[in-house]
């Protein structure tokens, strides 16, 4: 039996394979651990954390849309300290890499959380500058080159962990934003976060989500996400983690071919709780059947037409 190399190195962290659970869709891994062997995943990006615990938004927090869904969870989370005390010991039992999704209201928030996480065993920080569901929140950082630059710079200055920046798609030029993140010293970028959307209940003439707007995710956004990964890949040299509507290996490969070194799997876990592990299995099969020794051969292998 031929051996294939699925491992990817992103900013010094070696993931056994490029399949990572996306932040906010996988909790802290406990629940999906009942369905998949967490050791089989490349990594997990945990639910977005804030300095202090947050209750999140009022329900309804979810609405289904064609091939997608809107969410307005609003960063419900136990806060970074309870994460450190309660969740890191659980995650440390497993082989997968732990990425901590960090959300803040101010540069100080990001810095303080980074300092706390420096002293833990987590593998990587993913700076969430793009969560659209928190009023007066981080949204302002993610949509401006200046905001991304400043947060990235401040976090990089204090972080002992590799830092990747999670990019919002709600911008005119995601490539320029990515470039700024690189410029400020980011070790990588992940994209895309959700796209802001709204669904209206025609009978009540009110938004379905209590929060009025929410973030669109799922297969519907995949073509937008693939395009953005392609644009960002052309603009920067640091590694990219791609995501948005992945439902199967073939979807994941679109991102990898477009330039992603790894992928994150979000919404579709809800439909198929076995999905992350299944994609790893299918990937190994695919590489064997197509004589691909090393997954790296595929990264950015897109050939443009014309």
């Amino acid at each position: 039996m031929k051996h294939v190399n699925t491992s990817v190195n992103i900013a010094g962290v070696t993931f056994s394979n490029p399949v990572i659970a996306a932040s906010g869709t996988y909790g802290f891994g406990r629940e999906y651990g009942n369905y998949v062997d967490l050791n089989k995943l490349g990594g997990i990006s945990v639910k977005g954390l804030t300095l202090l615990p947050r209750e999140g938004n009022m329900p309804p927090r979810i609405a289904e849309t064609p091939s997608g869904m809107l969410n307005s969870v609003g960063l419900e989370n136990p806060g970074v300290e309870r994460f450190i005390s309660d969740e890191i010991p659980f995650l440390s039992q497993y082989d997968l890499k732990t990425i901590v999704n960090v959300a803040g209201n101010s540069i100080e928030d990001y810095v303080n959380m980074t300092l706390k996480l420096n002293e833990t065993s987590v593998d990587m920080l993913e700076i969430n500058l793009s969560c659209p569901n928190v009023k007066h929140g981080c949204v302002s950082f993610g949509v401006s080159e200046q905001g991304v630059y400043e947060v990235t710079k401040a976090v990089k200055e204090v972080s002992k962990k590799p830092v990747i920046i999670k990019l919002t798609p709600n911008v005119t030029s995601i490539a320029s934003i990515a470039y700024k993140a690189q410029d400020a010293g980011a070790d990588g970028v992940s994209l895309i976060n959700t796209i802001t959307g709204m669904k209206i209940n025609v009978k009540t003439r009110r938004p379905v989500l209590y929060n009025n707007t929410g973030g669109l995710s799922g297969p519907a956004i995949r073509p937008i996400a693939v395009r953005m990964v392609h644009e960002v890949y052309q603009a920067i040299d640091i590694p990219i983690i791609g995501m948005g509507g992945i439902t199967c290996l073939s979807d994941a490969l679109e991102f990898i071919i477009a330039g992603a070194s790894a992928v994150m799997i979000g919404t579709y876990n809800f439909m198929n709780p076995y999905l992350c592990e299944q994609i790893v299995i299918d990937l190994i099969d695919y590489m064997k059947h197509n004589n691909i020794d090393n997954i790296k051969e595929m990264v950015g292998s897109l050939r443009l037409n014309g």
Partner: protein, 254 residues
Amino acid sequence: MNLLKSKIIEKKMLTHDNIRLVLENKEIAGKSYPGVFVNVRCCHSDELILRRPISVLDAYEDRYEIVFKVMGKGTERLAYFETGDLLDVLGPLGKGFTFSQNYRKVAFIGGGIGIFPVVYAAKQFHGCQKDFFAGFKTKEEIMLMESLKQHVDHLYLSTDDGSEGYPGFITDLFMEKMTDYDMVYICGPAVMEEKIVKTLRKNKIKGQVSLEERMGCGIGACLVCACKTSHGIRHVCKDGPVFDIEDVFIEDEK
């Protein structure tokens, strides 16, 4: 992945828009008890990317039953499946009703599609007086009551339009008949649940209520199904759907 497949053994219309399915899956059947639910994929297509939560109505040997009402796109498509087809079902999920052999007198209250988990509970829980309160919109929507009769001591029935049984809401009928119950099991529309929960609390009667909230993952990971409880934010899919009445409807809601 086999875990996810449930075979349709029987399909039956209970009313013009309520469909009962008898399903075969040993694991789901074996782990089910009153109040838990399953999360059902309603069609093969990715237009609908969320499963739909449906309560378990009964479970025995390698089979379990559900009833679903055709409400929107998801349940409309679920209605297309026929006997022999394989459904993609995840479950059982959540925490259900609990019972104690010390109870002498209990009540079950179900309204509309909330009837299913309490019917299951009324069939399953033995050894005490059992009063069942069932509320329907109208005569044509009454279902499951014939087979239920043998399991309960009193069956109180109401229809909103008065076409059968007590004319009016089941809440009012319950208030009339309410006595020194050791435990009351409740599932129905939120307004009904709130009214009953608050009445019971005032009267210091214990109760458990099954809540409904829109769901994403159904297993506690995505946090969309939040509800406020006296212990802080909890998640209906994992910490519920069944909660003690002391803990929920703690704020006056608009």
